[in-house]
């Protein structure tokens, strides 16, 4: 492997970073360490300060307080060296939408120092690797969302950076494109790149990241592996829809016996929600309902949503109602 991940150095070591816009402390004292060769997931709702943090770490914004070393170089005093080892895929298309995919990649290859010929062949290789050969000559503004994200990432690895920042790489993508992007990220890390990514989805952080930091109002409110984080939140929840009000009441009694938590009940939707530790307990619960001859119309097992993580960590909601319930949705016919 070509990368210098032999040492146990950190790719990012930030101490007490602060960024103010006017009176607002948008990033309010963030300290974090990202080991080389790992994926760090930065999780937070809209406006939490994710992009602002990334921009500081990528030399685009000067921190008002605090300091950081990125790939061993001081962020403020050695910005040029930092720039040589990093790459940024911004939250919004970070290529020139008026140009074709090929032209964009040539542009960047030339700007990092490739010769004319070298730039062309590098661009072609990248297009091939990202499955964009057919769209090479098309303007990026005519790409689909998934293709855009791929060309964005391709543009970021023209020189295989040691550290790649990805700002919400999968927001707005359908599940297939999202999986493609995940595969690409995993492949990058296998080749020694360190990845720092932001996301609004716990599931994404869970799938990809070695460590997760949860940010809210500019502060890191929790940090750890996804396991640690989920343990602090509770593993997941089981949602059951019943056919009749009578069955709903009975089902509630049964489920309540299985847990210490309060079972949430919604009589209008004929729905029960219960926090449950794992899939085995969930299966046990469902089979007990079935044994009692109760009519289940539909049930699903979901990971805790970002909302729930926040509820647990901060005692308040994010104001979003998105959840990742489709993890193992099963329809039951009668």
């Amino acid at each position: 492997m070509s990368k210098s991940n032999v040492s146990d150095d950190f790719a990012i070591e930030a101490v007490n970073l602060v960024k103010k816009f006017g009176d607002l402390r948008v990033v309010d004292g963030i300290s974090l360490k990202v080991p080389r060769g790992s994926i760090y997931g930065f999780l937070g709702p809209n406006g939490a300060g994710k992009t602002t943090t990334i921009k500081m770490l990528a030399t685009l914004l000067r921190p008002d307080e605090g300091s950081a070393r990125v790939m061993g170089f001081d962020l403020t005093n050695d910005a040029n060296h930092v720039r040589q080892c990093i790459s940024l895929t911004g939250q919004f298309a970070s290529v020139d939408e008026d140009l074709s995919g090929l032209e964009n990649l040539i542009l960047i290859a030339r700007l990092v120092g490739f010769s004319r010929k070298g730039a062309l062949s590098r661009a072609k290789d990248l297009l091939k690797a990202f499955d964009l050969e057919d769209a090479a000559k098309r303007q990026v503004k005519k790409y689909s969302g998934g293709m855009r994200r791929r060309i964005d990432i391709a543009a970021s690895i023209v020189t295989s950076p040691d550290l790649l920042f990805l700002d919400e790489p999968t927001t707005g993508l359908d599940p297939r494109s999202r999986n493609q992007v995940w595969d690409i990220i995993r492949a990058l890390v296998r080749n020694g790149t360190t990845v720092f990514l932001t996301t609004q989805y716990l599931e994404e952080a869970d799938q990809l990241a070695d460590r997760i930091g949860v940010i809210d109002h500019g502060k890191l409110i929790a940090e750890g592996t996804s396991k640690e984080l989920k343990a602090s939140v509770g593993a997941g929840r089981l949602t059951v829809h019943m056919n009749t009000v009578e069955d709903l009441a009975k089902a509630r009694r049964i489920l309540q016996e299985m847990t210490d938590d309060q079972v949430e009940i919604d009589e209008r939707l004929l729905r029960l929600v219960v926090h449950i530790a794992n899939h085995i307990d969930a299966a046990t619960a469902i089979s007990r309902l079935v044994t009692e001859n109760l009519q289940i119309s539909d049930f699903s097992m979901g990971q805790p949503s970002l909302d729930e993580v926040f509820l647990t960590l901060t005692g308040k909601t994010t104001g979003q109602s998105e959840s990742n319930e489709e993890v193992s949705n099963v329809d039951q016919a009668g």
């Binding site: 070509s2 816009f21 921009k55 990528a58 030399t59 685009l60 914004l61 000067r62 040029n80 720039r83 040589q84 990093i86 790459s87 940024l88 911004g90 939250q91 919004f92 298309a93 970070s94 290529v95 020139d96 939408e97 008026d98 140009l99 032209e103 542009l107 960047i108 030339r110 700007l111 990092v112 120092g113 490739f114 010769s115 070298g118 590098r122 290789d125 990248l126 091939k128 690797a129 990202f130 499955d131 303007q139 964005d152 543009a155 690895i157 020189t159 295989s160 999986n179 493609q180 995940w182 595969d183 690409i184 995993r186 492949a187 990058l188 296998r190 080749n191 790149t193 799938q207």
Partner: protein, 274 residues
């Protein structure tokens, strides 16, 4: 979930790049970014409309509207006014440099470029190089049309060429003001508004359309220190062979002064843009 390596079989290959090329020189980086601006013209040729239409409309309008009234005959007036309108058109077109940059800033490409390790000013110098092409195009169109209408440079085409060159230098310096503004002003509309606010009085309160000696004295004293007047006088002088060294130096010094002030300001803002 598909986590197999073979989803992107070539990905592994492109990722093993042991050698990082050396960062490009300032000239190479500027030319590359100039190439980008040229490509944009290729995709959106309509943006050349301003460059071609402005000069044509201005020339026809002013020649026939004012020609009879101001100079007695349109032919004579054309010889006088063409260098003026040339300066006016090119000056107006310089605004677009700022607007293009402003559009970039609102998109992610601006941040991407700023994380690449090339010579910072190249992003602006490259764009300005291509703008020079636009200015040249506008000048050529106007001079050609003028020639058809009866314009004859008294100093031959050599003088005309030198006049245009002087104008390009001035336009280049002026562009730095717009690039600076585009980094300070938030929206494209606001930028357009401010640019117009500066340019309109400057171009009309100048010697573009009329000889300053016909103006009331108080106005004359304002108009005579207007940089546009200085440029118009010098260009007109080159075209008709009456230019003095002092006129040339004044324009060069004004241009240099603008660059010395606004280029560092622009670069400072470019580096520290939020």
């Amino acid at each position: 979930m598909s986590t197999k390596q073979d989803d992107y079989p070539d990905l592994h290959k492109v990722l093993i790049l042991t050698q990082r090329p050396r960062r490009p020189g300032p000239l190479s980086a500027s030319l590359t970014l100039g190439w980008r601006a040229l490509l944009k013209i290729k995709y959106v040729p309509e943006q050349l409309f301003d460059v071609t239409a402005f000069p044509v409309i201005f020339l026809l309008m002013f020649t026939y509207l004012f020609g009879g009234a101001i100079a007695g005959s349109t032919g004579e007036y054309l010889d006088f006014v063409l260098p003026g309108i040339l300066v006016m058109s090119v000056t107006m077109i310089t605004m677009y440099t700022g607007m293009d940059l402003n559009k970039d800033i609102q998109k992610g490409i601006f941040d991407r470029l700023r994380t690449l390790p090339f010579w910072r000013p190249a992003a602006l110098v490259g764009a300005l190089l291509v703008d020079a092409v636009r200015y040249l195009l506008a000048s050529t169109i106007m001079i050609t049309l003028g020639y058809i209408l009866g314009f004859r440079p008294g100093n031959g085409f050599g003088g005309l060429a030198l006049g245009v060159l002087l104008l390009l230098i001035f336009a280049f310096s002026l562009s730095w003001i717009w690039t600076f503004l585009s980094l300070v002003v938030r929206t494209e509309k606001a930028l357009m508004g401010i640019s117009m606010l500066i340019l309109f009085p400057l171009t009309f309160l100048s010697s573009v359309l009329v000889d300053t000696s016909t103006m009331p004295e108080w106005l004359q004293s304002i108009v005579d220190v207007n940089p546009i007047t200085l440029v118009v006088d010098a260009v007109r002088g080159w075209v008709h062979g009456t230019v003095t060294n002092q006129e040339i130096y004044t324009v060069l010094i004004v241009s240099l002064g603008i660059i010395v002030v606004f280029a560092p300001l622009t670069m400072y803002k470019y580096r520290n843009k939020n």
